[in-house]
C-alpha cells in the first residue's frame, strides 16, 4: 500500500493515559511528537507533569530537527473564579483533573487563538514542516 503524505493526529483516550505512569506518559508524548505527530489528550497533564514535559522537551531540542513543542489545554475548571464552585469543591473535596490538551511539534502546530473555552490551532504543512 502506498504511504500517504500528511500530518498524523492521534487522539489518546483517558483510559490509555491513566495506564501510564507520569514518566511513561512524558516519554510517550516526547517520542510521538518528536516523530512529527500531533496528539490530542482526552485528559491533559497536571501542571507538574506539564513542567516536567517542558524540561524534557528542552533537553531534547535539536537545532535542525526538533525545536520544541506547542502545547495548549484548557485551564483547570476550579480556577475559573466561580466562588460557588470553589466552595463546593472545598466541601466535597473535588480532585483537580487536567483537561483536554493538544500537543505537537512547534514547527508543525501553531496556536491561532485561545481563551478559557476555545483553542484554535493550525497545522503548518509544506514550508516550515519537517
Amino acid at each position: 500500500m502506498k504511504k500517504e503524505k500528511g500530518v498524523s493526529v492521534t487522539l489518546i483516550s483517558r483510559k490509555k493515559l491513566e495506564s501510564f505512569s507520569t514518566d511513561e506518559k512524558i516519554d510517550y508524548i516526547i517520542k510521538e511528537v518528536s516523530k512529527g505527530k500531533i496528539l490530542v489528550l482526552e485528559n491533559g497533564l497536571t501542571p507538574v507533569e506539564q513542567s516536567a514535559l517542558i524540561q524534557q522537551t528542552m533537553a531534547k531540542i535539536d537545532h535542525d530537527t526538533f525545536i520544541g513543542i506547542e502545547m495548549e489545554g484548557y485551564a483547570d475548571v476550579e480556577n475559573d473564579g466561580n466562588m460557588l464552585r470553589k466552595i463546593l469543591n472545598k466541601i466535597f473535596g473535588v480532585i483537580k483533573k487536567p483537561r483536554m490538551t493538544v500537543i505537537g511539534p512547534a514547527n508543525l502546530l501553531k496556536t491561532v487563538y485561545k481563551d478559557n473555552n476555545v483553542i484554535q490551532t493550525m497545522i503548518i504543512t509544506g514550508k516550515g514542516a519537517k
Binding site: 497536571t46 501542571p47 502545547m71 481563551d115
Partner: protein, 220 residues
C-alpha cells in the same frame, strides 16, 4: 533615604514577615521570555539595594541563567530581615535559533549558542520552583494571557501552594490591556505596572501586603 522609600521598605518587610513568618525568604520573578522580568528585578533591586541584577534586551532569552541577589537587607524600624531575589530565565516550550537570525540579525553561531543556553535556562528556571517561597509572575499586558506557559506556571505555583502575584507589565504601551489579564486570572491579584518607567510599583508592594497578609490569616 526618602519618606516614600522608607515606607516602601517597611511595608515590604511586614509583607515578608506575614507571608513567610521567617526572616529570610526567596522570591522568584517568573514569566515567559521578553515580558520584562529582569527590568522588574532591576527596579526592585534599585529600590532595596541600590543596584541592578542583569542586562535587558529586546532579543528573547537575554537572561539564560538564573541570577539572584542574596542577603538584601530590608530595614524595618529597629529590626531587619534579609531576602534573596531570584531573576529566572523565561520559560518557553520551544526555542528556534532561526528566529534569532531572521528577526534579530544574530549570526548563526551566536544564534545557536543563544538557543542552546536558552533551553538550559528554561530547565533551570523550572528547577528553581523547588527552592522559592513566593513568586511575582510577570505577564506582558499587550499579549494574549491565555498561553500554556502562563497556565503551566500558575498551575505549578498553585500545586505547590506558593503565594503568587501577577504583575501585568508594559502598561506604558498603548495596546496594553491589564483588564484582560484580570479577567483571565480572577483567582489571583493582578497589578498593572510598568517596570520600565516604575509606574505603579508602589501599588505592587501595597497589594503584596494586603493579599499575602490575608492568605496568611486564612491559613491560621
Amino acid at each position: 533615604m526618602g519618606v516614600l522609600e522608607r515606607f516602601r521598605i517597611t511595608r515590604f518587610a511586614l509583607w515578608i514577615h506575614r507571608v513567610f513568618g521567617k526572616r529570610h525568604a526567596r522570591i522568584g520573578i517568573y514569566g515567559p521570555p521578553n515580558v520584562g522580568k529582569t527590568t522588574l528585578a532591576n527596579r526592585m533591586l534599585m529600590d532595596w539595594a541600590g543596584e541592578t541584577i542583569g542586562t535587558v534586551s529586546e532579543i528573547p532569552h537575554e537572561t539564560r541563567r538564573a541570577k539572584w541577589k542574596s542577603n538584601v537587607k530590608i530595614e524595618n524600624g529597629s529590626s531587619s530581615l534579609v531576602i534573596d531575589i531570584v531573576d529566572t530565565p523565561g520559560i518557553a516550550t520551544k526555542v528556534d535559533y532561526k528566529e534569532f537570525i531572521e528577526q534579530y540579525g544574530l549570526d548563526p553561531d551566536e544564534a545557536k549558542r543563544r538557543a542552546k543556553e536558552a533551553t538550559e535556562g528554561v530547565i533551570e528556571a523550572i528547577r528553581w520552583l523547588e527552592s522559592i517561597d513566593g513568586v511575582v509572575l510577570v505577564m506582558d499586558s499587550t499579549e494574549n494571557p491565555f498561553t500554556q506557559v502562563n497556565v503551566t506556571i500558575l498551575g505549578n505555583l498553585e500545586a505547590r501552594n506558593l503565594p503568587v502575584i501577577i504583575a501585568a507589565n508594559k502598561i506604558d504601551l498603548e495596546k496594553s490591556s491589564p483588564a484582560t489579564l484580570k479577567s483571565a486570572f480572577p483567582q489571583h491579584p493582578v497589578v498593572p505596572i510598568s517596570a520600565l518607567t516604575g509606574y505603579n510599583l508602589d501599588n505592587l508592594y501595597t497589594t503584596m501586603v494586603k493579599h499575602f497578609g490575608k492568605r496568611r490569616r486564612k491559613r491560621k
